[in-house]
């Protein structure tokens, strides 16, 4: 636990500025450039951020699982903390997916939540599964055992990501809109596709920036605890 510094190629201030610029650009495109959707009207504008946040949450959970694998496989000394922070980011973005999705559902379906929709329920299962990760992690004393248990749990959870992603395509009712099919350009024509792509990049950069900030804080906290004990 003594080694707490990992060198990164992109400095944190550069990432912070990049995420601010990209998120501002994405918001400007969503509200001032893209036209209203012919079918859903103005409410479709939620989807640029809702879908991007969902993919970002998946990326965070997958990143957490990758770091967990690195911990178990290579015994990477940084991997446990990185896996924990990635899962934490996934939970934050996952909460936003559920909140923005519920707001959209209220406009379009007249309900905040529909238990009959596999896509919604499977995402909730994925979200709750990773919420339980924290219960497991903090129920074990700090040390190698906690790191191993957490890593195995994070790896199991990653199986739910493709299930959650594919649920929308195998659902029987198709109430939830499907954007990413084999013919994505017909579902998202012109500026809509570009706006979505820029929003997705913006949110991935934002998530990575927040991940780096939280990781830096956690490492400093860990180092201070070690110094106090020394």
């Amino acid at each position: 636990m003594g080694a707490v510094e990992r060198q990164y190629r992109v400095p944190l201030p550069v990432l912070a500025v990049a995420s601010l610029v990209l998120v501002t650009l994405a918001l400007a495109l969503v509200f001032f450039v893209v036209p209203n959707d012919a079918d859903q009207g103005f409410s479709q504008r939620i989807f640029y951020f809702h879908v991007s946040i969902a993919f970002t949450a998946y990326a965070c959970f997958a990143g957490g699982a990758w770091k967990a694998l690195r911990h178990l496989w290579k015994r990477d000394p940084y991997a446990d903390l990185e896996s924990y922070v990635a899962v934490h980011q996934g939970i934050i973005f996952g909460s936003l997916v559920l909140l923005t999705g519920s707001i959209w559902a209220r406009i379009s379906w007249g309900h905040w939540w529909l238990w009959s929709e596999d896509q919604l329920v499977l995402f909730l299962v994925l979200f709750l599964f990773y919420c339980a990760y924290f219960m497991l992690r903090f129920s074990v004393d700090p040390g190698p055992q906690r790191a191993n248990f957490s890593a195995v749990y994070a790896l199991f959870g990653v199986v739910l990501i493709p299930v959650s992603f594919l649920a929308i395509r195998i659902a029987k009712h198709f109430i939830h809109p499907v954007v990413f099919t084999s013919n994505v350009t017909s579902n998202l024509p012109g500026s809509m596709l570009w706006t979505y792509c820029i929003t997705q990049v913006a949110l991935l950069v934002l998530a990575y920036t927040l991940y780096r900030i939280e990781l830096a804080g956690k490492r400093l906290d860990l180092r201070l605890r070690e110094l106090r004990l020394a």
Partner: protein, 58 residues
């Protein structure tokens, strides 16, 4: 403002608020860590001063 516009605005406000709260929490935590670092530095300086005094007296 139509109902759809109100809900879309609410959705984006939720996202903005969540990121803001997160950043505030992290900022507060970093402030606490800075205070802890200062405290440790003060302790270290005090310990060094005490050592010097002991040597000069001995």
């Amino acid at each position: 403002m139509t109902t759809a516009e109100k809900y879309v605005t609410a959705a984006y406000c939720v996202i903005f608020a969540a990121v803001l709260v997160y950043v505030v929490i992290i900022a507060l935590k970093l402030q606490r860590l800075e205070r802890d670092v200062d405290e440790l530095e003060r302790r270290e300086t005090k310990a060094e001063d005490d050592d010097r005094e002991t040597i000069s007296v001995g």
